[in-house]
């Protein structure tokens, strides 16, 4: 049976070109960029070149980029770094309720260290509207952190509008672009962003590598102290194989972003437009148009996400659920609750995140098996109303 991966948001395979670019850096080119002899200098050169390539993807200069261990570290560094360095200017941080946990929990952490943190609400599509921000932001606000797009429901935020308000209040603007990068074009200058988090795996690069863009002149404090690598902002010997792989992935993503976006959007729309009318009481979560090209998050009333995942897995299809039944908490997704879904509605949602290896046949297969699975689970669900029991 062909396995169909529709959970690219959770994990992406490395491109063969990426693996090829990385391979020499494990043994042959094992140099440390801080060493002064040839092997080290070559590593230094590869590091600088990689930085330039990744920076180019978001319209930044290589001096404005530092490599980290991934999106989580980048988000931690951006938030803690700005908070600790700018304490004398103010103690307020504003973020939203649908951020990734690495932003939400970091904000909660700095909140316990004495900063005042505000979580902005979102509307039913998951959009952070500017009005609540305008009301909350004040002279004490040093940082606003809003994601470019939400990886779970796909909603893309009005980044430029938010940025305007943030900057007219002299605060820094951090954007978690982990889910958006490689999907939609990002330009830190046009979008007017001060700090931006990236992850390599989301661009089909290796896991365990990421980057933080820090606009020239932005004052931040390091979170890792040591040998002073990455301009003192991120100590630790550079993960050269990972960095080179990340750069290769970013280089390809930059070239293919438009084509791939178009292709995925077609598949995504096929999935949405064929599933919704075929399965009664199924609904799209997130915004109908302001959404990532690879994301379809669909809610099926009266059934629970994990049983859907297991049934689809038996058909060779990997998806993820809005319900975090498999996670440590059993709590439904904070994102789905934030857009106003009831607990049982949030439990019955599936997130399809498409990727470059998906073809039309994959979507056809999902469309052919999904109605039967939903029907069967609804038949055994005590919540299903009588009129849906048979059909």
């Amino acid at each position: 049976m062909r396995t169909i991966h529709l959970d690219y948001g959770a994990s992406k395979p490395l491109r063969p070109e990426v693996v090829e670019a990385m391979t020499p850096y494990f043994v042959q080119k094992h140099g440390n960029p801080s060493s002064l002899y040839t092997l080290g200098l070559e590593a230094r050169e590869a590091l600088e070149k990689s930085k330039e390539t990744v920076a180019y993807l978001i319209g930044a200069k290589k001096e404005e980029l530092i490599f980290t261990s991934g999106g989580t570290e980048s988000n931690n560094l951006a938030i803690k770094g700005v908070a600790y360095r700018n304490r004398t200017r103010g103690d307020r941080i504003i973020t939203s309720v649908i951020e990734h946990m690495s932003v939400i929990n970091t904000c909660k952490y700095v909140g316990r260290q004495g900063f005042k943190v505000t979580f902005l609400p979102v509307d039913k599509y998951g959009i952070v509207n500017v009005e609540p921000l305008r009301k909350e932001i004040d002279a004490k606000t040093i940082l606003v952190s809003v994601m470019y797009a939400n990886g779970e429901i796909g909603t893309v935020q009005p980044i430029r509008e938010i940025s305007e308000i943030v900057h007219s209040n002299n605060a820094y603007f951090h954007v978690d672009a982990v889910a958006a990068a490689g999907q939609i074009p990002i330009d830190v200058n046009k979008d007017n962003i001060d700090l931006l988090s990236l992850s390599s795996n989301d661009l089909y690069g290796p896991k365990g590598v990421g980057a933080l863009y820090i606009r020239e002149g932005t004052k931040i404090e390091p979170t890792l102290h040591g040998g002073g690598q990455e301009r003192g902002l991120r100590s630790g010997t550079e993960n050269m194989a990972g960095i080179v792989g990340f750069a290769k992935a970013a280089e390809i993503a930059e070239k293919e972003i438009e084509n791939e976006g178009c292709q995925l959007e077609k598949l995504r729309d096929k999935l949405i437009t064929e599933v919704l009318p075929t399965i009664k009481e199924s609904y799209l979560n997130g915004h109908p148009t302001m959404r990532l090209p690879n994301n379809a998050n669909i809610r099926f009333s009266y059934i629970e996400g994990e049983s859907l995942i297991l049934s689809l897995d038996a058909e060779g299809i990997s998806v993820s659920s809005g319900s975090a039944c498999t996670s440590k908490t059993l709590e439904p997704s904070h994102v789905l609750l934030a857009i106003g879904l009831a607990h049982e509605e949030a439990h019955g949602s599936l997130a399809f995140t498409l990727g470059r290896e998906n073809v039309e046949e994959d979507i056809n297969h999902v469309i052919s098996v999904l109605p039967g699975i939903v029907r069967r689970l609804r038949m055994i669900s005590p919540l299903t109303p009588k009129n849906l029991q048979e059909g």
Binding site: Y302, I303, E304, G305, E306, S307, L310, S323, C325, T326, K328, L330, P332, A342, H343, E344, H347, M379, I380, S381, P382, L383
Partner: protein, 109 residues
């Protein structure tokens, strides 16, 4: 699985807010569980425990069925992940509730 339209006892346990809701239907003849069916809204573990209890309890006397514990159900499934033991392992409770419902109805007759 499914519903018994003229069930002698019905037991509903759980809460859809937590992600698991289960209804057990029983048919009793000569103090034995002649038939038992379930309806479940829940994750894989919840459906598996519901299905398992119908197999474990069918044909048993009411007294024997009342003695089936959550632990017995989990053991018959070769164990459940610890996180599922509490939320999703509702089947034994559902069965006991259905039997209590039957006894209560019988008492009133």
């Amino acid at each position: 699985m499914g519903e018994i339209p003229d069930a002698d006892g019905i037991g509903t346990v759980g809460n859809p807010v937590c992600g698991d809701l289960m209804t057990i239907y029983i048919k009793v003849k000569d103090n034995r569980l002649e038939d038992i069916k379930f309806k479940t809204f829940g994750c894989g573990a919840a459906i598996a425990t519901s299905s398992m209890i119908t197999e474990m309890a069918r044909g048993k006397t009411l007294e024997e069925a009342m003695k089936i514990t959550r632990k017995d159900v989990a053991e018959n499934l070769d164990g459940l992940p610890p996180i599922k033991m509490h939320c999703s392992n509702l089947a034994a409770d559902g069965l006991h509730k259905a039997i209590e419902d039957y006894l209560e109805k019988k008492g009133k007759k």
